[in-house]
Symmetry: C2
């Protein structure tokens, strides 16, 4: 017959299992970050290659593709490892569903690369394809953050997701600016999109700073040399503040590409540091939980050896503290029992506090969930594809000068007024 | 190399694992309900035995204890089974921590029964002991409801928890009334406590009706014969509306005990039906998920046999729908790929919708969490035991004519004004 102490130990083992799993998921998030970075660089190079009709970056793109393939293999291996450990994962269903979505994208990558290599598509279409693939990878990171069961680790994963998302907006800004400067064309739709990407980036980095802790936030600041930031802002101003339709100077194109690429590479340094912090945090939490487990197991072994089973302390009233133990042979029996009850109570309160804190951290992920729900609603009611639904939300936000999440909330609150989809 | 479809299947398998685990947890909740019912009856009989100085219910209590031991064995076996399946349980740590808390209570039960059998304690102290043990068992049910990952099952578990909690308040009301009528003493503190128990019951049953669905709610109504309800309300009025201090007629004691016991036994019928519904719901959900899994696995086997790996549909734009497939040998290749992508997208949206609904259902459990947090705060800051902290909250609620949860919220919002505990 198992004792309360056995279940206190079982609870600790569950915590360790969850931490082990979180450590693996966090490591996967780190490798996804590297793959995303490689794909972002490839997207930039592909864009210039297509825009320059094959004259620029052909060799660099080849090297970048080889680099990306390496990280792709690591990420695929990570996915398969997760599947092998499926029974240990809390939100396994959602995580695997996200992976199921993105894998066909990785499968289709060689075909996409082939078309780009043959200059068989427009730069904008190539950008759209990479954006979709990277969004799929970020959705996996999002689920990893949403499914974390430890609030401190969850905080870092939320910081990581927001940093990666912000970096992706920066990558999209690079593509948007490259297209604008290279072609010289700068209409008001492009300007609007550009400003929207700047604003989205800033919101993500704001959450990152809030959740990453002071060390990383400081590194994020020092990692942006003022001269570089000034140059970026100058080019942004030239493009976004100019009257719409006035052509841009194509000679600024390489300057823009270098400047925004250096910025994104700098972000990658911060991201690597964040991934390392995440790894260290997981390790220290696991070590702490393991040492606690060892202490409890030693206590259980001692109690089993001594064959104690007095078991009367549960119904003690506080007044019983004053009563000396009756059994002289085991003078600490009841005292020991009572301290085990206290240990259980402390554990239970700690777990509850963790769960409360987790709810608070996860609440910051709700914005994205609102947007996803609004997209789903639009897809169902207006027979739109996911991309079209997203574009519609973003366009409405830009037109009304509101945040996408606020538009999403309006859409959801008006759900019953939406026309029913005339499904086939 | 695994395909997206493999991970779609992995996601489904996770769902089935979770449903299997939920089915086991739900079955455990059903047996906990029976043990609680037996302990409630034993509490009632013990009370009368002690109040009548051993003259009434000695034989009945003996039979009841034997009955209780039977259910205790089943519940203990259920706990150990859970521990064996620990790696499959989502909120395992919290669930085991609750079990760790209640097991020493079950261990201490023989000692408690011995003291009652020797008439060695006051009826009020015996009641307090049973209340504490039953609260520990209900906390296990609470965690089971809080950790459920399927919103429909979660709804029924929330209904179950609230029904069990309401029934426990009814049991406490029986004890409170039995003590009042048997002794004839009816002071204003007792009246206040009694009214508080009535109100707490009604709140629980309200949540039960909201979450259990129309069939069970109707049975709950028909299960309360009007004549019996009228008799209960008459006795409540006599005791609670009388001027405080006016002695009650002890001859009403058996009437009260029979009337409130019949009511509680009637509740047990509803609870059994709820447990059966829960079982059926789990079974049908598992069957549905399994048949979906079989369909997907058949598709995967077919694709593997045909060796398809075209993998280009991911980057298709909606316009590509109009383009006929190029490869005449596999005319449905791209179409099939696209329908797998649609399946993944549907799965992902379904999982997200489930997760959103789950958050809504779980929100109803927050009241209890607020009370637990406020108790923890009072215990830490004022060096109180859990019982004292709970009593303090309840007393404040009664004095201020507010709900306990509202007092708990006030306590939490004033946390920083509370004096620091002068710990040893």
């Amino acid at each position: 017959m198992k004792s309360g102490l056995s279940f206190l130990i079982a609870a600790l083992r569950c915590e360790i299992d969850e931490l082990d799993q979180l450590a693996r998921t966090s490591a996967l998030v780190g490798t996804i970050g590297r793959l995303v970075h490689a794909l972002q660089r490839e997207r930039g190079l592909s864009n210039v290659l297509l825009a320059s009709a094959g004259r620029r970056f052909a060799a660099e793109r080849g090297e970048q593709i080889a680099d990306g393939r390496k990280f792709e293999d690591i990420v695929r291996a990570g996915f398969e490892q997760l599947e092998a450990d499926a029974h240990r994962i809390g939100n396994g269903a959602r995580l695997f569903s996200r992976i199921a979505w993105v894998l066909p994208g990785l499968d289709a990558l060689p075909h996409l690369r082939g078309r780009i290599g043959q200059l068989g598509m427009q730069p904008a279409d190539a950008t759209t394809a990479f954006v979709k693939l990277i969004a799929g990878l970020l959705a996996v990171v999002f689920e990893a953050a949403d499914g974390a069961t430890d609030p401190e680790i969850s905080r870092l994963l939320v910081a990581m997701f927001n940093f990666m998302q912000g970096k992706e907006f920066a990558g999209q800004e690079r593509a948007c600016g490259a297209a604008a400067f290279t072609s010289g064309l700068n209409d008001s739709a492009r300007q609007q999109q550009w400003l929207h990407l700047i604003e989205s980036q800033e919101r993500c980095f704001h959450v990152f700073v809030e959740f990453s802790g002071p060390g990383l936030a400081a590194q994020w600041q020092t990692n942006l040399p003022p001269a570089q930031t000034a140059e970026l802002e100058r080019l942004r101003r030239i493009a976004c503040a100019a009257p719409a339709g006035v052509p841009l100077n194509p000679e600024l194109s390489p300057t823009w590409f270098d400047c925004s690429s250096r910025r994104i590479d700098g972000m990658q340094v911060v991201e690597e540091r964040l991934a390392a912090d995440l790894r260290k945090l997981c390790e220290s939490k696991i070590a702490q939980a393991r040492s606690e487990l060892a202490a409890h197991e030693a206590l259980l072994a001692q109690l089993t050896a001594e064959g104690r089973s007095t078991a009367t302390a549960f119904f003690d009233t506080p007044a019983a503290d004053a009563v000396p133990p009756l059994n002289a042979k085991a003078p600490y029996g009841r005292q020991l029992e009572r301290s085990i009850l206290e240990m259980v109570q402390e554990q239970s309160q700690r777990l509850q506090a963790m769960s409360d804190e987790l709810d608070t951290v996860r609440a910051t992920l709700n914005e994205r969930k609102l947007v996803e729900r609004a997209k789903g609603l639009l897809m169902a009611h207006r027979q739109l594809s996911e991309e079209e639904a997203h574009k519609m939300l973003r366009q409405t936000a830009m037109n009304q000068n509101r945040r996408v999440v606020d538009v999403a909330e309006s859409v959801l609150s008006m759900a019953e007024y939406l026309p029913r989809g005339t499904s086939t």
